[in-house]
Amino acid sequence: MQVTIENLTKKFGDVIGAENLSLDIKDGEFVAFLGPSGCGKTTTLLMLAGIYKPTSGTIRFGDTVVNRLSPRERNIGMVFQSYALYPHMTVYKNIGYPLKLKNMQKKEIDERVNAVANTMGIGDLLDRRPGQLSGGQQQRVALGRALVKEPDILLFDEPLSNLDARLRLTMRGEIKHLQHDLGITSIYVTHDQIEAMTMADRIAVMSGGHLQAFDTPEALYDRPKTLFVAGFVGNPPMNFINVEVSASNGHFVATNGNMSLDLSKERGEKPATAGNSVVMGIRPEDIQIAPDGTVPAEVFVVEPLGRENLVDVRIDGESILLLADTKADHKRGDSVKLKFNMNKAQFFDSKTGKSLLWA
């Protein structure tokens, strides 16, 4: 089912839940809503579910405007962060409840509940109550209940944030896999960018009730269109340095104090026109500590991440994060030389926050 959102706005009195959102979600697509807490993700999702009535704007499922349809007329399945299982019902009844509400025959309910429960690996828990299940099992029940009525659209509201890290990893894979197999259009709300990046076909980045970007994970990562997106996507986050980009006979350089970095024509041409109000962004993995580096810096903090070290170095007192090999064994206070991979550098207009490279 294709979902189209146009200028969708929701206000709670004076508080803005979401404002002027417009997105197109293709049939069978897996879209993540990514943004910090309180940015309006849940509000948007609940408008799609029909729980909240939009203040203005339209929502279309396929060609039908669903603004005025009640939740049960929308044929959606939803998984909540709190799982929202019915505590007084057994797992069987929880999963069967949507079917019971459709006045389905007992026999068919039985078949479907068992089928879903087996898919979710909770076939042996059907007689238990939610209170007797672990978090992960409750999560599977909630997922089973959302899937059992074969919905046109699946909505997830931070479904994994109450699970421990290991289980989260497993469930992430399972949900992705399930969605792919079933081909149900899915909207997945999360504040965890790794979840969004690994699971979604496209990510809608939200902030303060507004849509900041809507693109594939790769595009958001490699070609961020705004300073916000560049800073929000990626962990550890992108480094930002104020620079001046200048051109002299076909050579482009970005300078800040006595730091000077050569740029290729593709990267330097457009920023050069913006003069001195440019913010350069560069990801930690695109900076190396190397003997032949050009920028001197001092090691400030070394945080071992296991596979590599996160090193906080200072250039003239400015903090820069980079990833270094654990073997290199840098120490606090070491003087090092940095090498920047300038073909990955991003440039933004410091006033508007818009990318100077990607229109």
């Binding site: 959606i76 399945g77 939803m78 709190s82 209170g131």
Partner: protein, 516 residues
């Protein structure tokens, strides 16, 4: 645990002994000070206000009486830990601590003329019980008995005409005022003679009277040491609740006996006994004097009031509370605070206006037959109105406790608002419904003021009103029968509690937990 320090090797654990003594003495000092303040400062102060009062005296007396035992308990509890390592060592330490404390306290009592050394009425002789009567063992030289010429070997049989044994003799002496004459009848050398003794205020110097005290002290310490700590709250509770238990005990005993003195059933001659079932005759259609109504009619009225009250309160409160908890509408806040005000409104002030409402309702065709004046449901309805504020608030609290997500989830699953309320929310607040239901039922079952005001005629009364009528009858009141009717009224209450308790526990096991 390995104890290696020298002191703990001996038969007495010295550090523990010191702590025990310190604790005990601390209590002694604090209580003495308190008694001193009460007796020495507060009392003159109160007296100077020219108010007659006994509270400070009584309090200081209690302090003096209770003090030693608190001290022994405190010192005993210091030894409790030691029991785990070595029992003989603990016992010995405790005994020594107790004896030392007991000595200190006794010396204090002796010096201050307190406790057993307090001056009391006495005739200054010692006696023992024998088959013939009370044998005089010794008389204090120059004491009251000696002056009256009581001799060792005399056998006292009676005071005036009342036969005595040792205990009653001692009690009579202790209770008599100083210098009052006691005429003792006694046998000396086979002859019956009478001797009049005048009591004096004397301090007992009989050290043997200390022994029972010491035994008590050791007993208290020992109990403190071996006392299973988890019982303490129960014992305190039982002590506090005992008047209540005694009351119910009396109620039950009274219903099966002709008359009672205290909680002791007596027959016509005043002997213990007098078991009878006649108090329960009213159950079998036998009229209670002067009232020509069957108890079953009265019970039915009570039941109609209670059940209709319970149902209406439950339905209305839960639906109103749902709306108040989950929906936003103009005036919601105002309504809520208004309800709270209503809850504090005393029902009595509205009795007369409501009377007019009911009377008018009663004149309305159809409706008047059900809810008018002098109709059980009409009476129930008045009480429902008084219970609703509480019910609505209680239920609102329960609804507020259910996460929104559960309701949203049910709506997305395809449930209508009504079904969400009925199938998802109500089952989750079952404990609340049950509590409110019981509350309303009991409110209706035990209601007196409203039924008394709005029902007339024997056929319409409920149990509490009926009970009241039994007392106000002009014929002699049969309290044991009233107790029986009272107990009869209690039966459903007991049943309800037994049943509801189990139910509440059941629900709890099902649990609304499980959300992280």
């Amino acid at each position: 645990m390995t104890v290696t320090d020298n002191e703990s090797q001996g038969i007495i654990h010295v550090p523990t002994l010191i702590i025990a003594l310190k604790n005990g003495l601390l209590v002694v000092v604090i209580f003495s000070l308190l008694a001193l303040i009460l007796q020495g400062i507060l009392k003159p102060l109160v007296a100077s206000l020219q108010v007659v009062e006994t509270v400070t005296t009584t309090l200081s007396l209690i302090l003096i009486l209770v003090l030693p035992y608190i001290a022994y308990i405190m010192s005993g509890s210091a030894v409790r830990e030691l029991v785990k390592t070595s029992i003989p060592q603990a016992l010995l330490t405790a005994v020594i601590a107790t004896i030392v404390l007991f000595s200190i306290i006794s010396v204090g009592h002796y010096l201050l003329n307190l406790g057993i050394f307090a001056p009391t009425s006495s005739i200054q002789m010692t006696v023992v019980d024998t088959d013939e009567g009370v044998l005089v063992e010794s008389v204090v030289e120059g004491g009251a008995a000696d002056i009256a010429e009581v001799k060792v070997g005399d056998v006292i049989t009676a005071i005036r005409r009342d036969p005595v044994d040792r205990a009653t003799l001692m009690a009579r002496v202790a209770q008599s005022e100083v210098d009052s004459p006691l005429r003792l009848r006694m046998i000396r050398d086979g002859e019956e003679i009478q001797v009049t003794v005048r009591t004096v205020l004397a301090t007992s110097s009989d050290a043997s009277a200390l022994f029972p005290g010491l035994i008590m002290a050791l007993g208290v310490t020992l109990i403190t040491i071996i006392w299973p700590g988890q019982f303490t709250p129960y014992v305190i509770l039982l002590a506090i609740l005992s008047p209540l238990f005694l009351g119910y005990l009396w109620l039950i005993i009274a219903t099966f006996s002709t008359r009672t003195q205290g909680i002791i059933p007596l027959d016509g001659e005043g002997n213990i006994g007098g078991f009878t079932l006649s108090n329960w005759d009213f159950l079998f259609g036998k009229d209670i004097v002067g009232l020509n109504v069957s108890i079953w009619q009265v019970t039915l009225n009570s039941l109609i009031i209670a059940v209709s009250m319970m149902l209406i309160v439950l339905v209305v409160s839960s639906m109103a509370a749902y709306a108040l908890s989950r929906m936003h509408f103009p005036g919601r806040k105002a309504f809520l605070s208004f309800t709270l005000v209503l809850h504090g409104f005393p029902a009595v002030t509205l009795l007369i206006p409501i009377f007019f409402v009911l009377a008018n309702l009663g004149r309305t065709p159809v409706i008047g037959e059900i809810v008018g004046f002098n109709k059980p449901i009409g009476i129930a309805l008045v009480m429902v109105a008084f219970q609703l504020p509480l019910g609505v608030w209680l239920m609102k609290g329960f609804f507020d406790g259910i996460p929104w997500d559960i309701e949203r989830s049910a709506m997305i699953d395809g449930a209508s608002r009504w079904r969400v309320y009925w199938e998802i929310l109500l089952p989750q607040i079952r404990p609340g419904l049950l509590a409110l239901g019981i509350f309303a039922f009991l409110g209706g079952w035990n209601a007196f003021l409203i039924p008394q005001t709005y029902s007339t005629g024997a056929g319409m009364v409920n149990l509490p009103v009926f009970l009241n009528q039994l007392i106000s009858e002009t014929a002699p009141v049969n309290w044991n029968q009233i107790a029986a009717v009272g107990l009869f009224q209690l039966v459903p209450v007991f049943i309800l509690f037994i049943f509801a308790q189990e139910y509440l526990l059941n629900i709890y096991a099902g649990g609304t937990k499980g959300f992280s």
